[in-house]
Structures are given as C-alpha cells and as structure tokens.
Symmetry: C2
Subunit: 700 residues, 2 copies
C-alpha cells in the first residue's frame, strides 16, 4: 500500500550534508551502514560527494521516476520547493524530516496544509513532517537519523514521538530484540497511524505492532484499521495524556463521567488493541506476543526453584484474573518420579534450590503435557547450584511451542548469560515474575478478544422520521436542549415505553388528564428555563385525586412565579405514576473521536457517588450490552442477591441497544440521559421515567 | 544488640570443606575474599587446611570465649552436637545454615525447638536454621554462601527467602547499588524480622531497610519494632502470599471482609512501613530513599527533552495523587532567558530534543529554587544531539540536595554511560518515568507518615466489670455467640446508646413493655438457635399500638414454631423504634497476627455489594477514625452532598474508638458487628440499633 515508502529502489536525501552529527549526514550514513541495496542520491548544492557517494546539486536532473522516495531535511523555508522537485523527480513517497510546521503555530500549520495539498493532488504520500524517518529491516533500509540499524525481527513500532523512537530502538538493542519496521509519524500531515496500521497488518515480517500515540486523527477509521490489524496480529498501544482529559463542558451524568480516556479505553477494547499502561509494558508485552503462542485458556502453571518468588507469582496470577491450577493427577505422579521427595508438586511446582536443568525440564514437560494447563511461567533464582545458561538452553530445547512459556530469571550479573540464551531461543524473560504475569494477562485478553463471538447488531423497527422532525424543529429555533416531554417523544419513537401523560396549561385540563391516565399521578413543571425542577417546587409525586391535582397545580405555578419569576412556563406535565422497580441510568455521550459512548449504571448514589458505571461504544450488540451490566460492581444487585428477585437484564440491554441505534442514526444528539430507566423482574414493563437530550447543530 | 552476630572477632565454620561449590567451602572462601579482619576457624575432622587456613578437627579445643560466632553447615543429624560445642567454645551467636528442620515436618520442627531451647538457656542467639547466612559490609564480613561481597552502601536487606537474597545481591551488583547488611533469616528459630529491625534501626551504616517477608512471628512486636525503625529510616517491605488469605471461617461482615492481607496492610500503615507491591519496587524505592532527601510536599516538576515521555510522567504523577505544579512566575521568567524560545515552560518543562547539559541544569536550578516545587523528575531520551553522560554529570554537579531529584534516562545502550554516572553520583535512575513516579510516591507517603501528629488514644470511662461478667458467664456455658440483647448490654457498658427495650416472654408482658417504651416499637424474636431472624418471620418493625403488639407476638411465635420447630425461644425483644438516621456498620475482626482490626462502612449494599469499607488496627485515635471515614468512596454521602445535611462524623469516630477500647480490653471478643449503627446530624443521638458479638475462649 505504501510500497514506495517501505520498499523504494532509489532514495533521494534532499539536504544531505558532509558534517557528521547533522541530520542530513546521518540519514545518508545510516542508509549506507544499513546496507541499503538500492540507489542513494544525496542532494546538496555545495558539494560533490557525501559519505563517499556522488552528490547532486539539485533534484532537477532526476525526472520521470528516477526517484521512488525522497527524504527532505532542509530548513523550513526550503521544504515546499524541495517537495515540488521531489514530485517532479518521480517520488511517490516523501519523508519530511524538517520541523517548524503545525507544532509551531498557525503559520507552520498553513505551510503544512499547503505541502499536503500539493502532494495529495499528485497522489504522493508524506510521512511527517517533524519526524525521525523510517526503518525497514526487511528492506535493509534505515531511512532515519534515529540511530543504527536494529536487528531484524517481528516487532514493528509506530511512534508519534520521535524521542520515544530512539529510546525504543536503543532499548530493543539492549534487550537483543528484533524489529521489523519503525515508523516515526511526526505531525501526520498525510500518513497517520491508520495508514501504518493497515500496512503493518498485511506485512508478513511484522508479528506484533507496538505503538505510542498521543492522539488519533479519525476515531472511526482508527477503530476499523485497528480491528482489522488485531484480527491478524496483536496491536499493543501506549496512549499518553490519560488524565489531562475531561475538559469539555458536559451537562448530563453520562457526559460528566465520560472522559476522553474512557473513550480511548472503549475504542481499544472494541478493536482488540492491547493497552500498555507503562512504557516498560510496551516491550514486555511485545516480547511475549512475538515469541510465544497465545494461551488457549487462563490456567497457569508456575515452576520455581524458590518458594518466595513462586508465591509472588501465584499472587500476581490471581490478581490478574488468571488461575493457578494444580497439575492433573497423572501428570503429577509422572513428575513425582523425576523430582526429589522434598519437591513440592502443588502449584507453584517447587523444583528446589539445588535444581539442575533436568528438573526444570521435567516440570516443563509435565506442564506442557497436562491438558488442564494453558500457560507456564518459569522462575529461576541464582542459588549455589544453579546453572542459568544451561537451564535456559535445556528449557528452550524442550519447548513444544503449543502453550506460552514465559520466564523470569531473577537477579543481575549471574543470571545474565541465562537471559541471553533465553532471548536468542525465543523465550521472553522478565526481571520479575510480576512482569511475566502482566504479559501473560495481556496475551490472555487478546486471545479472548480473538475468540469473541461474531458481532450482530440488532436493528429495531423505529419511527425515524418522527425523531428527525422533532430534532430539526428544535434546532431551527436555535435551542439545543430537549426537555423531558420532547425527549420522551423521541424515545417513544425508538420503542421506549414512557409513562402515559400530557401537558396541561390550566388546572381544569390537568384534572382532566389525570382522570384519564389514572391515579396516582406525577406533576412536573415544563419550562425551557428550568433545569432542576424539583429544587423550585416544580415536581409533585403521588398526587392521589382530582382535588389534589387542582391544589398542586395552582401552588406549583405560584411557587415558580415566586422562585423563578423570569421563567417562561409551557405548562404542567401530568403522567401516571409508575409501579416501583429498580432505577438505573442508561445514557450516551458523544466523544469527539469515537462517536456515541453508551453508559450504564445503577441509579442515584451508584452513579453520582460511587461512579459505578460502564461505557461502550455504539453500535452495541446484545452480548456487549449484557457485558456492560456485568462489568459494574453493583451487578450483584441487578442479578438479585440473597434470595431477592433480580431484574430483567435483557430489558436493560435492549434499552442500551435502542439508544445505540438512536444515537447512531442521529449524530445531532450530543448527550442523552434516561434517568431513571425503571426496570422490574423478567417480563415486567420497563419505563423511561425521565429523560433529557442535548443536541448539537450538524455542521453543513 | 546482636553484636556477636554482626561484629564478631572470631568466626568458626563448622562443617568447613575443601571442595569448591560445597556450602562449607564457600562460606570460608567468602569470608576470606571479603577481607574479614578477624580470625577464621574452619572445623573439619578429616583435613588440616581449608582455603589456606589451618583447619581444626573439632571445636572442643576452643573453650571460654575463643569463638564469637559459629556458622554451622553440617548434616542435620550433627547440628545439635555442633551447637553444643559452639556454645562451649564461647560462641554468643550461631548461624545455622543447615536445612532439614521446621520446613520438613514435625520431626524437624521438634529438633529445631530443642536447639532453640539449648541456646536460649545459654543466651546464645541463633540465625536460621535453613538460611543463607549474613553479610555485613561494614565489618568486611561475608558470612554466607550467597555470593561475593557486595559494594558497601546504605541499603540493608532482610529476607525470609534465601533464594531472593541471592537474587537481590546479584541485582544490587548489576545496578551498582551499595549494601550495608544482608540477613537471611531462614526458619527464624530465634532471631526474627523483629530482632533484625531493631538492630538495623540503630545501625548507622543502614540508611534504608528492605525486607522480603512471607509471615510475621508476633504481630504486636513487629508493629512496635517496625514503627521504631520507621521513625529513624524508611522500611520497605514486600510481603508475599497476599491473595492466599481469607481461609478462616468468619461469621460477621467485618470478619468476612477482613482478609489477612488487609491486616498486613493496616499493620504496615500503622508502623510507617512502605509496602512494595512488586519485586522491582523493592529496589526502585530503596534506591530513591537511600540516595535522595524526602520531599516536603507533593508538588512535582517534570523536566524532559521530549513531549511524549513528559506527558507520560505527568499522567503518572496525577494518578499517584501527587501534583503537577507550574513554576512560580519569577522562576519561570528567569528560566525563560536560558532556554530557546520554542522550549515549553509549563509543567513538564520541555528543554527540547536538542537539549545540551546546560539546558537541563538551567531547568533543574529553576526547580530547586522554586519555593512551590517539592520534587523534581528529570527525563532524558537519546536524541541526535543528546549527551547522556555529560548531562548526568552536569545534573549531579548542580544538585543542592534539598529536594528529591529522580531521573529516568530512557533507552538502552546509548544512555548506559549516563546511567552509570547517575548512580555513582547518587541519583536514582529508572527505566521509565512511571517507575520514577512510583518511587517518588513512596517517598511522599513515608514523609507524610513521619509528619503525622502524635497519636493520642482516648480512654473512655466504661463499666468494664459488667462486660467481664457477661462474657465470663457466656463462656462458662460453652457458647461463643452473643445475640442482640447480650451484645447490646456489653455495648451499653462501653457508652453506646442502645434503644430502650426489654425481653417479654408473654404477650401481656410485650404490651406492657411497649406501652412503657412508647410507640411505634420493633419486635424481634430472641433465640440462640436463630441467626437470621427476619428470614423466619421473627422481626416486626413499626408496630403501632398495643393491639398490634399482641397480634404480632402470637403470630411470631406461631411462625417460628412452624419454621424452626426445634429452636429454643427466650422470648420477644420489644424496643422503641428509632428516628431514622443514616445506617452505617462499625465492627471489629480480630486478626491472628495483629489483633483487633476495626472496620467502617456505610450500611447495606455499600458493605455487602460494593465492599466499600476501611480497616484500621486498634487502638485507634480520633484522627485515625475520622481518616477511616474519609477513605471510603461513599464519604461524600456521609459529608452530605448537593445541599443535603451530612451526618455527625465525630460521633461515628467516637463509636469506633469505643469499639477499639472494648476489643483491646477484651481479647475474648473475636468478632463484633454493630449493624446498623444509626447516626444523624451533628448533635443528634447515635444508636447501636443491632449488634452481634462472637467470643473465643482465652487459652489458659
């Protein structure tokens, strides 16, 4: 897809330099040092040779396809001209190393747009500007000033921070890890993480994709590309800026609780992206993914030559939601014969402090053969009789490659030879058992995602036209808030049941409506100027007869006149009181990047104080909606605890699916709360008892 | 205190060997290689020299104080005799390296007890058995077979796992960290973590104590020793076995929620111990503590040469509960002059990708001089112009040592020279900014603990005799459960207000009582055979008049006869209904190690479903009790949210303090729940509305 960028035959370096340490020099030198097979064309008006290669004054002589890829490292003022000449020379891809664009302010941003426009017109792709370049070990191409060529391998890296590229490159070298591609995406004037994800998904050399991202250009595209990539290979991403979020103004509960980090979390979960929470985790996870098969289940065997670290590992396994499973009895008795009597055959299997490589191998084989074990963690501490290097070799020689085996050789100098053996044999090694367990957890989560059932989004029959009319009418008035009555009309059109009720504008009419819907009734003031109705005396519940309706109607109007004299009153909404059920909140807040984020939580304090809510991106399936319920801490209450009857979970899931459809159909809906959504036992009716919707005008 | 163990002049090695690799050889060799200044006396019946030293057939010739410390590494059967001979030779301390004791079963345990008994009688201290020995770099003594002598330094290590000792030693060497002492405590037949904590607390060479523990011998002693040590220097402990807990049978809410790990957490918190959750954290924290001053506050400045890692660090700082604070304006403008225009002077301060050492120094000085900054984190990524080693030297040269400075040089090979400079200059360096932040958080927590106000435990005037009588009478019957009535009598004696009420054994009497206490009343069946009263129809609330009392009395007895025919009924308890207030739970569960653990939680679902509870060890101060309330997620509800009035927090704290006193006074009380404890607004009465107590017989 980005063939000319990743696999060029000829590369021009515009702004090449004779001075070591200068970017224009280092790129040429890196290309040479990396043994690039094709043609390297240094461009510099003032010299004849650079790094031993003939240097050209300008690209003007290279027309009609002589150049595949142009790397531009010139002062900002000269970038535009260099881009034009590169295109004329036939470049199909351009890497703009130079900085001074969007990151510096409006002027730079304008120039960046201009450059991007010219390239787009000619179908030339740009990487950068303000980037480090690109490395493709599979093409022996180090088109960067990031440092020397890494060893080839299965890990590809996308980074929005050039500095992190060099740190990662440096780290990979220190750990003897092999890289496939490394791409510094810089300002993403054209090529973004989405393009790179698509390319790497189809790159055979790449076994795992590792990314550092600060923002994402287009949420939907990212989700699609990430999901397609995740189906083929693991995508591990570190996203920074997680706490800086939450700056947008929000009025609904859902909006207040839905930070942008929550949205990223939901997007990653949807698309199977494995999230790294710390820098180390990027490589801890990538190593495991690139070297070992995925686990079939979550049952872990721990093998150790010391009790303490074994216990530490077992603790971590349980905290990670994986299982510490004992060996099946046949496997255990076979192993018993091969270990000293003092060895412990529980889990952890303790092969004892004086364990030789044979004992480790015996335990490893037992774990590999045991049908009830899905993954193995091996711990070695350097004790008097320990032979780290031989043990590493023996473990490596006996792997059957069917279950993931992760290793922690604890210590420093004395286990170092063992560690190197491990890495070269394709066994991921971790400083501590806890880090090995974190990596295994990531593998299990990814494996579970891969096995997820096909996503079937239900389309309900709804009255879309009606909603369209209500929304358009409201937007035409210039108002964006939809109060209870209008919001309920919209919900009704999408299959929600709302309490029977009508707007009354006189006391007589109120009584008439109440007689019709049946007692007791609820009475609520309707005014666009009043948001917190009950605070002003604008709500009366459980009104029992016509006399009370009349009294409270007059009293309510009196109170509102006293307390909010300037409010324009539409009338009083009279509705039948509902049978009590459990009150939950379902809602939606539209994320700038990822679109509608659905929320679920138990009502009242659970949402307001305990923040016990879950989010999921729309469109949502029934299974996903049910999973949202399960993910709350208060799920036990929904299910019914201690003999109490639970509520109709499917009915709540149905409500979430309908909101999903509504907010997917109408991008004008910015926020929506159904609070409370009343739900009873299975088979009972559900009610959207109160609701509010906030709109945003669609830009033309 | 353990002078002969840590600072012996002469050391016997019983079971010394000529064969390299054997423990008895390695210990002698390690003593020699470590340049031990005193006399080394190898004992072996079959040879004349070992490692060039004259070897003796037996210790029998060394009487009357010739030997200070004896290290025994002989087969288990010969240990007892070797111990006796060591004592006769004058040894005041014995290290038993040999294994085969408590860890192997009852026989080994018996032998261990016998050996301990003999030594105790002669006031000779034992380290081990089943240990690796001891290293004291301050005495040039490597009395272990753990490996070669580490560099001297300020970190002392206690480990209950010999294997971890070697791993730690190995790691310290790899990281160029200096150690003071390393003690492998093995089976702890005599010397335990408590003795070592006391010794290290007073050891001038030791700046920070690092421990790996699997269990703790005596909870109270540990807390006392740990607290005394923490006052002088940081104590960092990794405790394994955190999830294996919770096996004990518990009947109260408090008991069910109070796992042993919770108790360890509470004990560590009380005694100022910094808890490490992962193996890496032990050294990450120890390095920071041993090299840098404690922060005075929690405001952190981040200095970086790359945006991405800076954001990552800022995220971590906020997640850790520390503050990302901008430079004060004077400091900022002074710094502005020294940095390029493109540099960002927010927080993080971005000194840009091409930063030289001078820019780092300028930012460091700004941070050091700024009165609103308490700690500094410096991040360096290896970019084209970066000079890691010089930058490290420049930073080190400009430290004023008043605020903690933690560094993360990210990457591998290319930053390695810088890392080594950092360590040798006393600057803790971390693989990632996140790890530096974790270490800083540990420092801040420890600094806060050190500044805690003096602990003043209130003693209330109570009727202790009365409780003693109730408890003894109940224990004499062989029953351990105290039902509502008896439990309330106990609480009353400790100053709790309980609703006015009496036991009625006839309907007439019930009416009489109800008339006396006033309507409405609550009626509850009293029977030692019935625990869940309301499930059987044994509770009636809001009984309004005498006729209802009579009806429900008869109905209740009828129902109980039908539903629990074999239950012996004491009668029906009639009490005045309470004014509604907020229902909370306060309780106590006695931990085997650490004694009474107090619990607080909001009532009902908050405890049962949300597990939103906090624990604290008794005795508790008012400040600590208030802190317990604050630590719940539901604190917002207690305080009163959105204009609602809050409850009387001090009254709840008072209740916790009274339970603290009660359960400290009476070790017979195993579990206690006051559920609900009803509390209203400030000045309102509080009520112990229901209660249960479980006793345990005190062993004679």
């Amino acid at each position: 897809m980005l063939e000319s960028l990743f696999y060029p035959n000829s590369i021009a370096v515009v702004g090449a330099s004779r001075t070591p340490g200068k970017v224009g020099h280092d790129i040429v030198q890196n290309l040479i040092d990396g043994n690039f097979d094709g043609t390297i064309v240094p461009i510099n008006p003032t010299t004849d040779t650079i790094c031993g290669l003939p240097c050209f004054k300008s690209l003007k002589n290279f027309r009609d396809g002589n150049i595949d890829l142009s790397i531009i490292s010139v002062p900002r003022v000269a970038v535009l001209e260099s881009v034009k000449q590169s295109i004329q020379a036939g470049a199909k891809a351009i890497i703009i190393i130079s900085a001074g664009f969007k990151e510096t302010g409006p002027e730079g941003a304008a120039l960046e747009l201009q450059v991007a426009g010219i390239c787009a017109a000619k179908k030339v792709r740009i990487l950068g500007p303000n980037c480090l370049g690109l490395i493709n070990t599979g093409h022996k191409m180090n088109a960067s000033f990031a440092g020397s060529m890494p060893t080839g391998g299965g890990i590809s890296v996308i980074s929005q921070s050039g500095a992190l590229c060099t740190a990662i490159l440096d780290l990979a070298k220190g750990r003897h890890l092999g890289l496939a591609k490394l791409i510094s995406i810089g300002n993403k004037a054209d090529i973004s993480e989405v393009d790179i994800l698509k390319t790497l998904a189809n790159d055979e050399q790449t076994k795992v994709i590792v990314g550092y991202l600060e923002d994402i250009a287009v949420g939907d595209d990212f989700i699609k590309a990430a999901e397609e990539a995740s189906v083929k290979k693991p995508v591990v991403i570190l996203k920074s800026g997680t706490t800086a979020a939450g700056l947008k103004a929000a009025t609904s509960h859902t909006g207040i609780l839905a930070g942008s980090d929550t949205a990223y979390g939901a997007a990653f979960k949807r698309s199977g992206v494995v999230r790294a929470e710390r820098f180390e985790a990027l490589f801890d996870f990538a190593t495991a993914f690139s070297m070992q098969p995925l686990p079939e289940g979550n049952r872990v065997l721990i093998i150790t030559n010391a009790g303490g670290p074994g216990t530490m590992a077992a603790d971590s396994v349980e905290l990670a939601g994986l299982k510490v499973t004992e060996l099946e009895s046949n496997t255990a008795s076979a192993l018993r014969a091969k270990l000293p009597a003092a060895a412990s055959l529980g889990n952890p299997v303790d092969v004892l402090g004086d364990a030789d490589p044979e004992r480790y191998v015996a335990a490893l084989l037992a774990g590999q053969n045991d049908p009830y074990i899905d993954a193995i963690i091996i711990i070695l501490t350097p004790q008097a009789m320990t032979r780290p290097a031989e043990t590493a070799r023996a473990i490596a020689a006996n792997l059957d490659g069917k279950k993931p085996v992760l290793v922690s050789f604890m210590g420093g100098q004395s286990v170092m030879p063992g560690r190197e053996e491990l890495v070269s044999a394709g066994l991921p090694d971790y400083e501590s058992p806890e880090r090995a367990v974190s990596a295994l957890k990531a593998m299990w989560e990814y494996a579970s995602w891969k096995k997820r059932p096909p996503r079937m989004v239900t389309r309900f029959r709804v009255n879309r036209r009606r909603v369209e009319r209500i929304i358009n009418r409201r937007l035409r008035t210039g108002r964006t808030h939809l109060g209870e009555v209008k919001a309920k009309n919209i919900l009704k059109a999408y299959g929600f049941q709302v309490p029977d009720g009508y707007l009354a504008i006189m006391a007589d009419e109120a009584v008439e409506v109440a007689d019709r819907v049946g007692y007791p009734v609820a009475m609520k003031i309707v005014s666009k100027d009043i948001v917190h109705k009950s605070d002003l005396g604008g709500v009366r519940l459980n009104v029992k007869n016509s006399e009370e309706v009349r009294d409270f109607y007059d009293l309510m109007l009196l109170r509102i006149k006293q307390r909010a004299p300037s409010a324009v009153i539409d009338g009083v909404y009279i509705e039948r009181m509902l049978d009590p059920g459990m009150e939950v909140i379902i809602g939606m807040s539209r994320d700038q990047q990822f679109g509608p984020m659905l929320m679920f939580g138990l009502g009242g304090i659970f949402v307001e104080v305990m923040k016990d809510v879950t989010f999921h991106l729309a469109p949502i399936t029934e299974a996903e909606a049910l999973q949202m319920l399960k993910s709350t801490r208060s799920y036990e209450i929904l299910k019914g605890k201690r003999g109490q009857k639970g509520v109709d979970l499917v009915a709540i899931a149905n409500g979430l699916q309908r909101i999903s459809q509504l907010t997917t159909d109408f991008p004008q809906i910015a926020e929506l709360d159904i609070n409370p959504f009343i739900v009873g036992g299975v088979g009972n009716e559900t009610w959207a008892a109160d609701a509010r919707i906030t709109l945003r005008p669609l830009s033309k």
